[in-house]
């Protein structure tokens, strides 16, 4: 039997690292708002999965996948994602989700509970994180160039639309994974806050993305240990920890 705290730390840190890293590209793509609220979409998916007795991860992932397809279409149609539309749609999903999620599961869905994870969750997490980093190392050049100039990227033979889709797909995976850690309300924050902190103290892309991953990992580590010691709910503490990192970076802002 693996030590439960050790398991929580492994899963939590991996998710923090992945969320921070992907978050840096969300910020690069000027999708902070979308990143912040995308997790809200998962709730109706979780509710439907619970009602039909399926693993909530798959319900959440399906809902997130549909949401990223929607964002992707908006991106294709316009130069920038129409943030108002996304904001409204995501808030409505949350309202609907709260309404249809069975009462006993609602709290865990909303705020997550990493203390309930098992070794299967750990395996899924490890596999998914490897997939995410493997994919991102292959597409980060194309992704960044298409942010700098879509026209320039296209003239270099980059399929901007495909790259954007792959990236959003990775975001859907990390958010679905992270629901266990922070829940529907706060997973978006774990994507955006460490990356926003990293941006405060970075000039270039390399340092920005690495620090974002590091800050995500540190927030998870610190948050889970602190919550465990004081017997608090880990999800909000992890997000608060990332907030502390953000405030510290403000002091050294470039």
């Amino acid at each position: 039997m693996i030590n439960p705290l050790f398991l929580q730390l492994v899963v939590g840190i991996l998710i923090g690292v992945g969320a921070g890293y992907l978050g840096s590209f969300m910020i690069l793509k000027r999708m902070s708002l979308v990143g912040d609220v995308i997790s809200h979409v998962a709730l109706p998916g979780i509710a439907i999965a619970i009602i039909f007795g399926i693993n909530p991860f798959f319900g959440a992932f399906t809902a997130l996948f549909l949401a990223i397809v929607g964002i992707w279409f908006l991106e294709r149609r316009t130069e920038l994602p129409s943030e108002t539309l996304v904001g409204i749609f995501f808030a409505l999903s949350l309202a609907l989700g709260i309404l249809i999620t069975p009462e006993p599961e609602l709290l865990e869905a909303l705020f997550g509970d990493i203390t309930k994870i098992g070794s299967v969750d750990a395996l899924i997490t490890i596999t998914a994180i490897i997939l995410i980093f493997f994919t991102m190392f292959r597409i980060y050049r194309e992704l960044t160039l298409s942010v700098v100039s879509k026209q320039l990227a296209q003239s270099m033979g980059i399929n901007v639309s495909k790259i954007n889709f792959i990236f959003l797909f990775m975001v859907a995976i990390i958010v679905a994974l992270g629901l266990k850690v922070t829940g529907v309300f706060l997973m978006g924050a774990l994507v955006i806050v460490p990356a926003a902190a990293a941006k405060n103290i970075s000039i270039g892309l390399s340092r920005f993305t690495k620090l974002a991953a590091l800050f995500g990992g540190i927030s998870a580590l610190g948050g889970i240990l602190f919550a465990n010691y004081f017997n608090l709910h880990p999800g909000p503490i992890v997000v608060l920890a990332s907030g502390v990192v953000f405030i510290l970076t403000l002091l050294f802002r470039k």
């Binding site: 942010v147 700098v148 100039s149 026209q151």
Partner: protein, 254 residues
């Protein structure tokens, strides 16, 4: 009639031993039944500087995208084989907020630092110590408009292109800086012998630097040597009533 002139010109050029590298015949572009360009005929010879002028929304940038094969078109575009074409679009999302250093941006096209330094020297940033310790480490968005334009020119010559397509080389630069950028482009062209096709809104620049000009407003309004074809009549036709551009007038339009 235009066709005949093109063929006659080509025969003449064969006699003069000049190489035609691009022939465009009856080019048309439509987006959703909306006609953007219609019946364009022109050709480009090695070493030419061809300027494309026209009012906003005339289809100049779309013409570039068609030349690069990025949008569907009717008619024919024939580049001579094995040409290396470098393209600098007008639209760049480089703002103060974008965590991307000059070195990282140029590194997306060329890994070899020596080649990057040479390209930067070619665009007038000559101090190697300054390049390595300051320019390459600087955030793109912190540079001035003129400096960004130099970096973009450096980017475009990194892979020794045969043809340079430049959409508004002086967008976002003050009037004084424009001369500098065009002088730089001319110097590079003379040194490296590439062909330049550029979009410009500034007719004074066209008179000074281009040996051929195409005026378009959906269709071709004039085509030939700037001093011969940019007469008040065709300018009036090109820009509607406000024929305020005149050869010796130093009007500036954005």
């Amino acid at each position: 009639m235009v066709q005949v002139i093109i063929y006659l010109d080509q025969i003449f050029n064969l006699m003069a031993n000049q190489e035609t590298i691009l022939t465009v015949e009856n080019l048309g572009v439509k987006f959703d039944n909306n006609e953007i360009l219609r019946g364009l005929n022109f050709f480009v010879q090695k070493g030419d500087v061809l300027a494309i002028v026209g009012p906003n929304g005339a289809g100049k940038s779309v013409l570039f995208r068609a030349l690069l094969g990025l949008v569907p078109y009717s008619g024919s575009i024939r580049w001579s084989p094995k040409l290396k074409v470098s393209y600098v679009p007008q639209k760049f999302n480089i703002d103060k907020d974008l965590p991307l250093s000059v070195g990282e941006f140029l590194g997306f096209k060329e890994k070899n630092t020596g080649k990057i330094i040479n390209a930067l020297k070619s665009v007038g940033i000559t101090d190697e110590h300054h390049i390595q310790h300051h320019i390459l480490k600087e955030r793109m968005g912190w540079l001035s408009g003129g400096q960004i334009q130099r970096i973009l020119i450096a980017w475009s010559i990194l892979d020794n292109p045969d043809v340079l397509l430049f959409d508004e080389p002086t967008a976002g630069i003050d009037v004084g800086g424009e001369e500098t950028i065009y002088n730089l482009l001319k110097k590079l062209k003379d040194e490296r012998g590439f062909t330049v096709i550029l979009i410009s809104h500034d007719l004074n620049i066209v008179y000074k630097y281009a040996n051929n000009v195409i005026c378009i407003n959906k269709e071709m309004v004039c085509y030939g040597e700037p001093s011969a074809v940019l007469d008040p009549a065709s300018l009036a036709k090109l820009y509607g009533g406000e024929a305020s551009f005149y050869k010796h007038e130093h009007t500036h339009h954005d």
